[in-house]
Structure formats: C-alpha cells, structure tokens
C-alpha cells in the first residue's frame, strides 16, 4: 500500500511537471496556478484546523497582509521580491504570535476562537481599507514588478505554473514532515483532548501557537505569490469570504491528511469555470455541490476515497 502510494505520487508529480508541454491553453494553466496557490492556503489552514483543531479565521488576514507588506518593503526598503516576501512572512508571524498569544492564553476554543480571530482579521481588513496614504484604500495597488528566479523573470503563465507548483510541493513536504514529527503528534493530541495533553505535561499553549504561526507563515508566502501573480492588491484579499472559501476547500477535500485540502482547492477553483450557467444560477449550483459533498462525504472527497480504497484492500 505504502509503496503503491509512493508510486502514485511520483507519477502524479511527473505528470504535473510535464503538463505545460502538452497543455498550451493559457486558461487551463491559469486556473491551475490559482489552484496550486489556493492549495497552499488550504494546506496551511489545515495545519491549524484539521491537525491542531483550531478553527482560525485569521487566514485571509495573513494572506492579504503579506501582499501589502511585500509591496511596502520593496518600495520603502528597496529590497527585492524574495527578501520582501521573507520580511512580509516574518511580519505576519509576529502578528500571529500576538493574536495567538491573546487567544490561547485566554484559552479560547472552537467557536470563541473563531470569532476572536475573525475580529482580528476584520481589524486588519479595515485598517488596510482606510489607511489610504499607505494602501491606497479601495482602489488597491497595481504591482508592476515580477519576481526573478535564477536569472529568469517569472512573467508568463508557464513560469508561474512551475513556481506555484514547486511552492505547493514544498508546502506539502514541510507540513507532512511536521505532522509526522513529535510536534505533529502533539498537535493531534491537542485536537483530540487538550486537557489530557495538559495532564501529560504537554505545553498546550506553545504547540497551539506553533501551529498557528506556522500556518500563517505559509499563508503569508502564498499571499505574496498570489498578489504578484495577479499583479494587484486590494482590501478584498483580507475579506471573510477568503477565509470561508478556505474552510470550504478543506471540508470538501478532507482534513485528515496533509494532501487532501489540495483536492478541494483544485475543485473549488476550477468549478466556477466548468459550470457554464448565468451568474445567479451558478452560485446556486456551486453552493449545492458543496453542501451535498459535505453531507454525503463528511470526511471530504480525498478522505472518502482513501477509506474506500482501504476497505477494498482489506477485503
């Protein structure tokens, strides 16, 4: 089984790397770039939600703030795109430590944690919206620069395809290393029973904070990539819709594995382009698909298929 899995992943990786050689459609590649970036968001969110059990609504903030922070540090500190991204991710990490410390010190859980992180996220959005002199308010910012990598300018869709694919792969690798380590075991222990964790001498606060910061760090890197791929920034990046969209991806794909949220991200990114209905009907169809999937497959698409395969393998 393990070997088969490895083989499957290897085949998938080769197929995805070779894909732009065969698929010349810019539309398809663009959808895939967005899918990989949304996948990174969903995977990093799932580190906090699916593994550690904390329903954060701060993800959109981490994602959006990073775009602005990258732009501002490039503009005012004169650094390049990659340094700007690192600075932005560090800035988001500091914010996450503050928000996380407040939430976890007060032992906010579940619903309360979701509401308080949502409030912080809205605070960030309103700041971005109203701080005209820095963020240009509702109008947003046009981003002309493109990142450079190994002497190449990441400009066309194919290079973005590879950049986002590699970024997603690194995210998956890092997260899977993390959840299979002692730290990951503690994340799960906290999700299952954090009081028991306390009893065993696990520093529940520290691990919750670690998961929160790690997830937001990845979301920040994603936000920076996303903004510069799109070429623009606007306060909508930080909206609740973003966070809710990520929740939908994770529920649709599944939350019990590192990889599962990517399935949800790809489907939800591609789906609107595949359903050719008028705008009003489209929302209804899209929503119905989401609701039905969650009702029929509570473990998500990936989780249900994996369970089915396990059952077949066992019998």
């Amino acid at each position: 089984m393990r070997f088969q899995n490895r083989f499957l992943f290897f085949a998938l990786a080769v197929a995805l790397l070779a894909l732009p050689l065969g698929v010349k459609s810019d539309v398809v590649l663009t959808i895939l770039v967005f899918s990989w970036l949304q996948g990174m968001l969903a995977v990093s969110f799932n580190l906090i939600f699916g593994f550690t059990g904390q329903l954060t609504m701060f993800h959109a903030a981490a994602f959006g703030i990073a775009g602005y922070a990258t732009h501002l540090s490039m503009q005012h500190l004169g650094v390049g795109y990659w340094t700007g991204t690192v600075l932005a991710a560090l800035f988001v990490s500091v914010l996450s430590i503050i928000v996380g410390t407040i939430c976890f010190r007060f032992r906010l859980k579940e619903f309360y944690f979701a509401i308080v992180t949502l409030a912080f996220s809205e605070m960030a959005r309103l700041t971005v919206l109203n701080w005209n002199s820095v963020t240009n308010g509702t109008l947003g910012i046009n981003l002309q620069e493109k990142p450079w990598l190994f002497g190449f300018k990441v400009n066309d869709t194919v290079s973005w395809y590879y950049l986002s694919l590699v970024a997603l792969a690194v995210t998956l690798l890092v997260c899977s290393r993390l959840v299979h380590s002692w730290m990951g075991r503690c994340f799960s222990a906290i999700r299952l029973n954090d009081e028991l964790g306390d009893t065993l001498g696990i520093n529940v606060f520290r691990y919750k904070l670690a998961a929160f910061v790690a997830g937001n760090f990845i979301a920040a890197v994603t936000g920076s990539l996303y903004a510069y791929y799109l070429g623009s920034l606007e306060p909508g990046f930080l909206s609740i819709d973003q966070s809710l969209g990520i929740v939908a991806m994770v529920l649709l794909g599944g939350r019990s594995s590192v990889f599962a949220p990517v399935v949800g991200a790809v489907l939800l990114t591609a789906l609107p382009h595949l359903i050719h209905f008028s705008a009003e009907v489209r929302s209804i169809v899209y929503g119905s698909i989401l609701i039905l999937t969650i009702l029929v497959m509570p473990q998500g698409i990936y989780g249900s298929i994996a369970a089915l395969l396990r059952k077949r393998h066992a019998s």
């Binding site: 002692w182 075991r185 503690c186 799960s188 222990a189 299952l192 029973n193 009081e195 028991l196 306390d198 009893t199 065993l200 001498g201 696990i202 520093n203």
Partner: protein
C-alpha cells in the same frame, strides 16, 4: 514522596479543599476515599499543578513544588492517570503509550519501556495497532495506566481507576496497583470504591466536603463504624 500541607483550593468563591494535609511515602499505596464531589479529583489536580492552591504548600520528595508548573512536576516523576479512561481515541494503543513518555529526554528510544509495559498488560500488546477508541472500557483504563507508566513515574496518582468497570476488571486493576508498589512506586489512589481502595492501600484518608475527616491504617479504617456505614455499605 508527595506531601500536602494545609492546602486550600477555591473554584471562584467555592471553598473546595479545606486545609488538606496528607502524605504518601516511598513505595506506599495511599487511598483517598470519599463520595462524589468530596474533592478527590480537585486534590489530585492540585497535586499535578492543574489547579493552583489558594493556601498551603505541596512538596515532592521534600522540595517545595507549590509554584512549579505541571510540566516540571511530570518531569520529576509525578504522573496523573485522570478520571474517566482518558485516552486519545483516534490514536493507536502504541501512539497513546508514546504520548505518556513525551517529556522524557530519551523519548526516541522508548522501545524497551514499551516492551515492559506490554509485558505488564498483555492485552494491550495484542492491540497495539488498534485505535484506542475501539477498545472496551476496561482496556482503555489499562491503557491510561500503562500510558502513565511510560512517563517513568516515581509517584503515580490514579483518579477513580475502577469507575464503571466490571468487578473482575476492578480486581485486575487492584492487582496491577499492588504490583507497581512492590516495585517501589508510590501510589496515591482516589476512589469512590472504598472496598477496592482499602484493599490495596496501607493507609487511607477519608475526604468529606473538602475536609479530611478520617485517616489512618487501611485495615483499621475498613473496620471503623463510619467507613463501613458510609462507604462500604455493610
């Protein structure tokens, strides 16, 4: 080994423990008996630092641990097996056991201790790859105790290990507790099931509404009028 010295505990304005003093010697089994809501669980949680006392002092092997966080107490060999068969239901038996050794410096080399614990609880060995949530209540309680042992405790604190278990399993747990004590472990055993607790223990304390109302040799308490009437039911 562990010692309570005039410990007071409040939950908001409720005075839950009133000047509780008790001690457990090295290799000794001490029972803490009392009805529901007498303050047994609070006493144990206070021992572990999961609840802070409002007055009094706690000592572990002579050192004051009143201000020490739980992590430090566990490191020093004070391990709690909480009430109600608390296990990580979605973890396998083996994973649950490993969580018990989380604070150990040598936690990447736990195989020897796993083997030792499996030898003590053969049923857990058979089920090592099974999810803890799919086991029976008795097995989960065994797992909770076994997980406690993975932390290499010098003093094991058990909260109602017999709760809701069939008599034969209660007997099995009592035997395990006795065996651990003969190996030199100190044990503080809180129980509603006074018969079982007094059957294991050398000494016992009776807790009533947060106060220790009786204490002494377990054999003597067993035959005392009050204990027989109120806790043994004959």
């Amino acid at each position: 080994m562990i010692e309570f010295d005039g410990v007071d505990v409040h939950y908001a304005k409720n005075h839950v423990l009133k000047a509780v003093s008790l001690s457990v010697g090295a290799g000794e089994i001490v029972a803490l008996i009392g009805a529901n809501a007498a303050g047994k669980t609070t006493t144990l949680r206070t021992a572990l630092g999961l609840k802070a006392p409002t007055a009094g002092a706690l000592r572990l092997e002579g050192t004051d641990i009143t201000k020490l966080p739980t992590v430090e107490r566990v490191r020093r060999g004070l391990v709690l097996v909480p009430e109600g068969r608390q296990v990580f239901v979605k973890f396998t038996v083996a994973e649950n056991l490993m969580m018990g050794g989380y604070l150990r410096k040598d936690r990447d080399r736990m195989q020897a201790d796993l083997d030792r614990v499996y030898a003590l609880f053969p049923r857990l060995a058979e089920r090592r790859a099974q999810k803890a949530g799919s086991m029976s209540g008795g097995e989960q309680q065994m797992l909770a105790i076994a997980r406690g042992l993975m932390g290499k405790p010098r003093c094991l604190v058990l909260d109602e290990p017999s709760l809701g278990l069939a008599p034969i399993l209660v007997e099995e747990i009592a035997n395990t507790v006795r065996r651990l004590a003969t190996e030199g472990m100190s044990i503080l055993l809180a129980e509603q099931n006074a018969a079982m607790a007094l059957g294991c223990a050398a000494r016992a304390y009776v807790l009533e509404s947060g106060k220790i109302v009786l204490q002494g040799n377990a054999r003597e308490l067993e035959s005392s009028e009050t204990v027989r009437k109120l806790y043994l039911g004959h």
